[in-house]
Symmetry: C2
Subunit: 98 residues, 2 copies
């Protein structure tokens, strides 16, 4: 699972994420999204839920929180770019909002 | 409490923090510190404890987490620089480690 996404993987796994508000990082083979919540408690509650999944899957985000905003960057450091794990965690983060 | 730190305040409140590993931000009147933990669970546990104090005091950090590192920036946006609240939260964060 931890290999760089193939061209096919990018079409099947990445494309739906890019349609859902994720963007490609300008500098690295990574994806980013900024979530905006009602307040800090909502933002940190999201982070806490996502943290449990990240730890469960042993795949952790780089993320920045400033009051009600959470900016997430996903990359698989072991392979130096995007893997299926990033797509999986991105989908999970989006699902946590619904 | 939410006024810019005076010269006296900087000497009494800020100086001890700078000796404890906090640094002045290069671009803003803010203080920063990077905490390094054993792993993600320890890093996120620290963030969770700090988040509760931040919310209790209605004064929130800007912070970035990448696996076992947490980089914190403290500034009081209402006054555009450092206030006693920043010193208070910085001290609390340091205390959480002891």
């Amino acid at each position: 699972m931890t290999e760089l996404l193939s061209d096919t993987g990018r079409k099947t796994m990445l494309a739906p994420l890019l349609e859902a508000g994720w963007t490609l990082d300008a500098d690295r083979d990574a994806i980013c999204k900024t979530y905006v919540f009602d307040d800090f408690t909502a933002a940190f509650a999201f982070m806490t839920r996502a943290a449990l999944w990240a730890e469960k899957w042993n795949h952790h985000p780089e993320w920045t929180n400033s009051y009600r905003k959470v900016h997430v960057t996903l990359i698989t450091h072991d392979v130096g770019g995007l893997s299926a794990l990033d797509a999986k965690l991105a989908r999970k983060m989006d699902q946590l909002l619904t």
